[in-house]
């Protein structure tokens, strides 16, 4: 999911130590400085042993999966996978953090599979040539927009709107904003929270705002940047999920810019009733994909996991468990009615993520360095 604050680190076992190296000797004697020889003896061995232990890494037998799915969702997926015969080990962290990590590890990938990163992130990782091609068994029947017919690498399985919601205990429907463009109005000053642009959720709606001001070549107009400045000037800016929650707890913030599932989760933890707005101009929808990492040593097992994970059967089970909306038509049809109804709560904004992906880094840089 896109919830950034959750983090269930599954600490890896420390790298194994290798055997101490044999050290060459010679017969030459040196009587002048004999005293420190012994010290150096132990120092040399220990330092080299440590140096080697740094360099070794161990691969475990289960498939290593990187995903922003954390906590009970990660546990549930792991259990379901095991029942279906796939032994997986989940490493979960915030989406932005995982994305950075995968890029950092590109020379030495630790993951076999990555899923749950949003369109733009998966697109970037694909252009970095980090994925293996595999057409899942469930690709058939998937709408073209969720398939990867060009490279056969990234296939989408879920969709999530990034919604504008409000605390209905504090604001009436008349007082609430009806569009993302309303947020810069004086009455909403200090009423909504913008998180770090590294968060997938934040990044997605910021892009959703900016593309409204794009010309045919994808350049953002000055008006667009002025709007972005105003959007930041009017907001509570935080750099942690905890700080965001705190702004709602102390009553400063009443408008929540959040992914669909996160809206309800936050409202529940803080204790208010949230209402989502079907905004004028549409709501950005993002979809999450799955891909196999290039260089995996468990290619067959990984393929089998992907085939199982995206299958309508498991997607329906997940929808029943967590209310997440799948994208496969078969899976949607088999999902509980509430899930189907939720999918129609807000209307999508038309965003070409593939076109936007190469620009996003520069946009975020401008936001961070000149606007924030």
């Amino acid at each position: 999911m896109l919830h950034e604050a959750q983090e269930v680190g599954s600490p890896k076992p420390p790298p194994r130590r290798r055997e101490k190296p044999k050290v060459p000797t010679n017969d030459e004697q040196d009587m002048r400085k004999p005293q420190k020889m012994k010290t150096i003896f132990s120092l040399g061995l220990l330092t080299s042993a440590m140096a080697l232990s740094v360099a070794s890494t161990a691969f475990a037998d289960p498939i290593t999966v990187y995903t922003p799915q954390g906590e009970e969702r990660a546990v549930w997926i792991t259990e379901q996978a095991l029942e279906a015969g796939h032994e997986i080990e989940v490493l979960s962290a915030g989406g932005g953090e995982l994305f950075d990590r995968i890029l950092a590890e590109r020379a030495n990938p630790q993951a076999d599979i990555v899923f749950g990163l949003i369109d733009a992130a998966m697109a970037t990782l694909k252009t970095e040539k980090l994925f293996e091609a595999h057409v899942p068994t469930w690709a058939e029947g998937l709408p073209a927009v969720y398939r990867d017919d060009a490279d056969n690498m990234v296939y989408k399985f879920w969709q999530t709107p990034i919604v504008l919601a409000y605390n209905a205990d504090a604001l009436s429907a008349d007082e609430a904003p009806t569009s993302w463009m309303d947020l810069i109005k004086p009455e909403f000053s200090g009423k909504y929270v913008i998180g770090p642009s590294a968060w997938q959720t934040t990044k997605s709606y910021l892009v959703g705002v900016l593309v409204r001001f794009a010309d045919e070549d994808g350049n953002i107009s000055d008006e667009g940047w002025d709007f972005m400045q105003a959007l930041y000037d009017n907001a509570i800016i935080v750099d942690s999920g905890e700080a965001k929650t705190a702004a709602f707890v102390n009553g400063d913030a009443t408008i929540d810019l959040n992914w669909f599932g996160g809206v309800g989760r936050q409202a529940e933890s803080v204790g208010y009733n949230a209402v989502m707005v079907d905004t004028d101009g549409g709501t950005p929808f993002i979809s999450e994909g799955v891909a196999i990492m290039k260089g995996t040593d468990q290619l067959d097992a990984s393929k089998a996991f992907v085939d199982w994970f995206g299958s309508p059967t498991f997607m329906i089970a997940y929808a029943e468990q967590f209310g997440q909306t799948p994208v496969h038509p078969e899976a949607i049809a088999g999902s509980p009615e509430t899930v189907q109804a939720n999918a129609k709560l807000v209307s999508p904004q038309d965003i070409d993520w593939d076109a936007a992906a190469p620009e996003i880094d520069a946009w975020m840089q401008r936001i961070e360095l000149e606007i924030k």
Partner: protein, 564 residues
């Protein structure tokens, strides 16, 4: 083959390893920062400098950093010099209590101090709530921005004055003070015209240390600076996470150059030597009782006010760590006391993980650091030539560089497979953070170990050698017992430092090894009372450990020459 020749071969292996460590983890990172800042695919490129200059946020951060540094140097000196006067020059009642309160900055450091200040004065802080119960109009975020950072620096960076200025003051010859007063000077005049000039070199040196600390301040502005307030160190991390390694490198070079300038100036002042005044037979300083009741009362009030401000956040943290989680973020006074929070941390659940990570990484870093430092010190102690001096200076280099610079260097060097470490990619691995910690602790270790080795009695070793004791035997029976206490203390001091180390941690940690300082930082903004309780326990444990280690170090006289 004899044992000695075997050891000699090992000796050369050891040298090879030391050189490898120096090249891989000190020179390669520095080289990477420089190339990253100035060289791209097309050759020399200074584009990053232009982009930095154009960024509002970078300009603001540089302005903020300079402003905070200038103000901090002034305010820290005011408070620090007053403290030294109150402790050593004037007779103030309750000196032991004041000494204890003024020593707080020694154990209340870095991210612990920052989160502690946040707990007292932050948005939902205890003091904020207490003031609001009397003056409801006080805004929640009254304690933020440059004001808050300078205030925090003012009361947290006085440790150098406490340690060094006080020591310098004690060396002042009291007879010159007496002479001045005998000639009719008032207490204040004697202090200003006679004592202060004698202390000036030390005051300069401590001022520069304060400037050095303030320039690269990270945890304090990050926690109490509030919205839209950055200092340079934070911004380097931001640039790094924007994947603008070139701009991050450039900014860290700017920071590095300013810090090195500070150090150079400081060393010049140190080299100029201290003023020597007074007679050959020095008279120990005596504390003067103030005769004017008004000034006397004023001095007492100010002295106790400063003590209160330095004690308050620490006391609140310790007391509230025993409060039930619910009353931590709601009550002004805890309703009852409990050990439940400690049980939650120490029982080994999720709350224990960051503590465990920090202890393991701290242990590993101190282990690696000690091996390298011991070898370097033994080498430099045995052979005093240009090569060993060069090695010695190499390992002292990290002390002169700001931590963001070193961190950016490590990231740049090990983000891709590097032949220096067997074509491994260290970034994103568990080990990069302990390696970073080790580089940071080595300079301090070398300084203390060097002092310990100089203090060794050479006659004992010679006697042992004359009696036919082999080298290993001599090392184990004479050298090691003599320096072992220092080794243990240095290890303790550095693990203590690592527990609250924030800068290196923020740059290099990952999901596998999230350290205590990062957990503290993240927990500082938590609205969740359980998280707040856990944070307070972390802080109290770190401070207790610091107190323990520093008291022992103080008693043992670490760092002072123990030559007989």
């Amino acid at each position: 083959m004899t044992r000695l020749s075997f050891q000699k071969a090992l000796f050369y292996t050891g040298i090879a390893i030391i050189l490898w460590v120096a090249v891989s983890f000190i020179y390669a990172p520095i080289y990477s920062v420089l190339t990253q800042a100035f060289i791209d695919d097309t050759g020399f490129n200074f584009g990053a400098a232009g982009e930095l200059a154009e960024s509002n946020r970078v300009r603001r951060a540089i302005q903020n950093t300079l402003l905070v540094t200038v103000l901090s140097v002034i305010t820290v000196n005011l408070v620090g010099i007053f403290q030294v006067a109150a402790l050593e020059y004037i007779s103030v009642k309750g000196r032991r209590f004041l000494k204890f309160a003024y020593a707080m900055p020694l154990i209340f450091v870095s991210v612990v101090a920052a989160t502690g200040y946040n707990f007292a004065y932050g948005q939902t802080g205890v003091v904020t709530r207490a003031i609001q119960s009397v003056f409801p109009s006080l805004p929640n975020d009254w304690f933020s921005g440059p004001f808050a950072v300078v205030i925090a620096h003012t009361f947290l960076l006085t440790s150098f004055h406490y340690l060094f200025l006080r020591a310098a003051f004690r060396r002042v010859d009291y007879s010159v003070v007496e002479a001045a007063r005998g000639l009719g000077a008032s207490n204040l005049r004697a202090f200003r015209s006679v004592v202060l000039p004698l202390l000036l070199p030390t005051i300069f040196a401590t001022s520069l240390l304060v400037a050095y600390k303030s320039l690269s301040s990270f945890a304090i502005p990050a926690v109490v600076g509030g919205r839209r307030f950055d200092m340079v160190a934070e911004l380097i991390l931001t640039l790094n996470s924007l994947r603008r390694a070139d701009m991050a490198a450039m900014l860290s070079i700017l920071l590095g150059v300013s810090v090195i300038l500070c150090i150079l100036v400081m060393q010049r002042i140190e080299k100029r030597g201290s003023y020597s005044g007074g007679s050959k037979t020095q008279v120990a300083i005596q504390r003067i009782p103030l005769s004017n009741p008004f000034t006397n009362a004023l001095v007492h009030i100010v002295a106790y006010l400063i003590a209160l401000l330095q004690l308050l956040p620490v006391a609140l943290v310790v007391v509230y760590s025993f409060a039930p989680a619910k009353s931590i973020i709601a009550a002004v006074v805890p309703s009852s006391l409990t050990f439940k929070n400690y049980a939650a941390v120490l029982s080994g659940g999720d709350a224990f993980t960051p503590l465990k990570n920090s202890l393991l990484m701290g242990g590993a870093a101190v282990g690696m650091g000690l091996l390298v430092s011991l070898f370097v010190v033994i080498l430099a102690n045995r052979y005093r030539n240009k090569a060993t001096t060069a090695i010695d200076l190499t390992f002292m280099l990290p002390w002169t560089l700001p931590l963001p610079f070193i961190a950016i260097g490590l990231i740049a060097t090990f983000a891709t497979p590097n032949w220096l470490v067997g074509n491994q990619t260290l970034l994103g691995s568990y080990w990069i953070l302990p390696i970073g910690y080790a580089i940071v602790v080595i300079p301090l270790m070398i300084r203390f170990l060097r002092a310990a080795f100089y203090a060794l009695d050479p006659y004992q070793l010679e006697a042992a050698q004359a009696l036919g004791a082999p080298p290993l035997y001599r090392f184990l029976r004479i050298t090691l017992p003599a320096v072992a206490p220092v080794i243990i203390l240095v290890a303790g001091l550095n693990i203590n430092m690592i527990l609250s180390e924030y800068t290196m941690s923020a740059f290099l940690f990952n999901v596998n090894n999230k350290p205590l300082s990062i957990a503290l930082f993240e927990g500082a903004r938590s609205a969740n009372p359980d998280q707040a309780a856990i944070n307070l326990v972390y802080m109290t444990l770190i401070m207790a450990f610091s107190y323990f280690i520093i008291s022992i170090a103080d008693r043992y006289g670490l760092g002072r020459s123990t030559r007989r």
